[in-house]
Structure formats: structure tokens, C-alpha cells
């Protein structure tokens, strides 16, 4: 979706402001927000793709005026509501008052090291062979889907070259919406800056995205 999250190439946000000796967290609640997001995700009822879509579905004004852990917290509330693990009146009162729905799993403290060390690999087996080879010229499709996509606006309808192949990976555009993992071949596609930004762009700059095969069409050379 063309939400506030799709920031590449937007203007007006001012300079990057790296913080000297930045602390890992800026408030105690940020730690809890991080841990709650991971522990609730470990219940196994939504994917990372659905999580990302919940974050980018915040109103653009809300998204852009929230810190990153605020975005995570608001999206976590939305996911818990959607999947029936909390009720609106509970969020309003701050008290559990509705009988719990039991999740598939509850992450126990003893399982945390193994769960984090395993992560969530997205590579999958897929029959057949990828359509494109390294060095092939491709063009990204021009789409404006209502739902989740990982094809950023600045790289839609652009001509690039396959730089890396990564095997088949879970397809977020499907998986974010309960459509299944639908593994698709994944590539790194490199674009010259001038292709993305026009003839005034730096001739010594190139940008790549990671793109699933269904984002790509063959480009005549």
C-alpha cells in the first residue's frame, strides 16, 4: 500500500540526526514494547508480514508522528484485537476482563534463547527453476496495491539488472493477508540512480531492492 511507511525518495524530513552515545532504549517502556511484540508474535497467530502491514496501516499522520516503538505498540494492539486475544474494553480499562482465547504457543523464558537463535527463516523449497539469471535485464511492474507489498514506489516500473539470486522465499504480498506463504523466487535487482531519479542524478550511484519474481518482467536488451 502507498502508506506513510514507503519513505524512499520523499523530502522535507530534514537532516539525519545521529545521537552521540545513543542508549539502546530511550525509556523503560520501549524495552517492554519490544519484548511484548516478540513474545506475542511467538504465539504463532500472525506473520512478520502481517505485523509490518499493521504498522503501515496506521494513519499517515499517526505513523509519521510516532516513534518506532510507538508504531510497534499501536500495531501490536491492532493485531491482538484482530485475532481476538484482547478486547477494546480491556485496552480502555487496562484490565483483563474477557475470558482468554488460548494461543497456539506461549513463549516460556527457557525457550527464548533458542527461539531468538532460530529466528524465522523465510526460504522455502520450490519446484522448478527461477526465470531470471544474474545479469539479466528486468523491469519492475507498476502496481498500486491496496494491500501489503514490498515493492517500494520509487522502484516501480523501473529497469534494472539481476545482481543476486536468493532461492524461493515467502511472498509477503500474499502472506500478510492470510493468503499463504506462496513462495516465490527472490532476487536482488540493481538500478542505476539515473533510472530511478532522472538524468540529474549521480552517475556513480546505484540502488538495489530485493524483489520477488512476480514483481519482475523480462526487459528486452
Amino acid at each position: 500500500m502507498n502508506g506513510a511507511q514507503d519513505l524512499g525518495g520523499q523530502m522535507g524530513f530534514g537532516p539525519v540526526a545521529p545521537e552521540r552515545d545513543e542508549p539502546l532504549f530511550h525509556a523503560a517502556w520501549e524495552k517492554r514494547a519490544l519484548a511484548l511484540t516478540l513474545a506475542a508474535g511467538a504465539m504463532g497467530h500472525w506473520s512478520i508480514d502481517e505485523s509490518r502491514h499493521a504498522r503501515e496501516s496506521l494513519h499517515p499522520v499517526d505513523y509519521l508522528s510516532s516513534s518506532y516503538y510507538e508504531i510497534w505498540t499501536k500495531a501490536l494492539e491492532a493485531l491482538l484485537l484482530r485475532h481476538g486475544f484482547v478486547a477494546r474494553e480491556e485496552l480502555a480499562s487496562g484490565q483483563a476482563s474477557v475470558a482468554p482465547t488460548m494461543p497456539r504457543r506461549v513463549l516460556a523464558a527457557a525457550m527464548v534463547p533458542a527461539a531468538l537463535a532460530r529466528g524465522g527463516p523465510t526460504q522455502r523449497d520450490k519446484a522448478g527453476a527461477p526465470r531470471f539469471a544474474v545479469g539479466d535485464r528486468v523491469r519492475t511492474i507498476l502496481i498500486h496495491p491496496q494491500g501489503h507489498t514490498r515493492l517500494p514506489r520509487y522502484a516501480r516500473g523501473k529497469s534494472g539488472v539481476i545482481e543476486l539470486r536468493h532461492g524461493a522465499h515467502v511472498f509477503p504480498d500474499s502472506n500478510a493477508h492470510g493468503g499463504g506463504e506462496s513462495p516465490d523466487w527472490l532476487y536482488t535487482v540493481r538500478f542505476e540512480a539515473r533510472e530511478l531519479w532522472g538524468r540529474e542524478a549521480d552517475p556513480h550511484s546505484a540502488v538495489s531492492i530485493d524483489a520477488w519474481e512476480s514483481y519482475l518482467v523480462a526487459e528486452p536488451t
Binding site: D6, G8, V16, H169, D202
Partner: protein
């Protein structure tokens, strides 16, 4: 937000959906176990051991796992090597994808709109804000992390560090050098042109 997050935790714990000790264990992992020192060890080993550098180039996930760094937000790794012609820079324009297994949690600026919007459009301007001005002939190569592949920049090894131990080399590798918004540190002794003991 303090009260809102506290309320959410109370509800989820009372309903038996999360284990508060698991929350503590997650926080402890990222506060004390996983951080940019992991990545610095990878870089230092790549500098010191050409065979390791070759494995890192061929299959970064496996080469990084040799050092025990695996898992969440590092499941599929690619290492990109800076050299005299090319400077690599990593961003996630769509969210905050970042190689947690080797760098830990991302800094606020990495997740911020100024960085995410301009790293792809005006990379040299962004680098200048970090005090890094590249020769215009050096290619700037930006990696937008739009899938689950996570990128680790291997900065150039500072001249004059031949024969240094991996431990000493790792001290030269900053987090920003592994994102591409910085370069490896040059030790004062080398900067001043003083011969090393």
C-alpha cells in the same frame, strides 16, 4: 506510552498469553548478548583470514554462523565489501529491517524518516551528515532491505594494521562502518604517522 504499554503487559500476562520472565529474557538478550561487537568480530576475522573472507563472500549466513551468530533478523545474510571503487550503504526504506544478529537493535536514526527517505535519493548528502565525504568517483551502492535478506557492510581495512590480532582489529570496527554511514577507525598512532611498537 509508559501507561499504555504497562496496561498491555498487564492484560497479556493476566490472560496467560505472555510469560513476564520471557519478556525479561528477550530484553536481556539484546541488552547484553547481541550487539555490534558481534559484527565487528565478523569483520575483523574477514580482514585477518582471507579464507574466512572468501566464505563470507560466498555464503555470509554460514560464515557468520561459524562465529555463533544466527537467528532473528539475521536468518539470511549477505556481506558486501567496500573497496577503493565502491562504498556500500544499507537502508530499509519501508520499515526498519536491520541485521540484528550481528549489529543488535537499530539506532533511532536508522528507523527515522530523514534517513529512510534520503539514503536512496541523496546518499552522499546523508553520508556528509555523518561526516563522511567520499571522492565523487567512488561508486555509492545502496542496498534497500525490502525482503528478509540482511546486509552487513565489510569496511575497508585501515592501512598500517598488518599483523594485528583479530581482537585489536575488531576495536576499529564501528557499528556505523558496518551500515555504511562510517568507515573503520584509524588508530591515533597511525593517524599521527607514529610507528607501532
Amino acid at each position: 506510552m509508559e501507561a499504555r504499554v504497562k496496561a498491555l503487559e498487564t492484560i497479556l500476562v493476566d490472560k496467560g498469553l505472555v510469560d513476564p520472565a520471557a519478556l525479561d529474557a528477550i530484553i536481556d538478550t539484546y541488552e547484553t548478548k547481541i550487539g555490534p561487537r558481534n559484527g565487528a568480530r565478523v569483520v575483523a576475522k574477514a580482514w585477518a583470514d582471507p579464507a574466512y573472507a572468501a566464505r563470507l563472500k560466498a555464503d555470509a549466513t554460514a560464515a557468520i554462523a561459524e562465529l555463533g551468530f544466527t537467528g532473528r533478523q539475521g536468518e539470511h545474510m549477505v556481506a558486501v565489501f567496500n573497496d577503493a571503487e565502491t562504498h556500500h550503504l544499507v537502508v530499509c526504506t519501508l520499515c526498519s529491517c536491520y541485521p540484528w544478529s550481528v549489529l543488535g537493535l537499530p539506532p533511532v536514526w536508522y528507523k527515522s524518516a530523514p534517513y529512510r527517505s534520503r539514503a536512496v535519493l541523496d546518499p552522499r548528502g546523508v553520508l556528509a551528515e555523518f561526516g563522511l565525504v567520499l571522492d565523487p568517483a567512488v561508486q555509492v551502492r545502496i542496498w534497500d532491505s525490502t525482503a528478509e535478506i540482511r546486509y552487513l557492510v565489510i569496511p575497508q581495512r585501515p592501512a598500517g594494521t598488518e599483523g594485528w590480532s583479530e581482537e585489536a582489529l575488531a576495536d576499529l570496527v564501528t557499528r556505523d562502518a558496518m551500515i555504511g554511514t562510517g568507515v573503520a577507525l584509524v588508530p591515533d598512532s597511525l593517524r599521527a604517522g607514529v610507528a607501532l611498537p
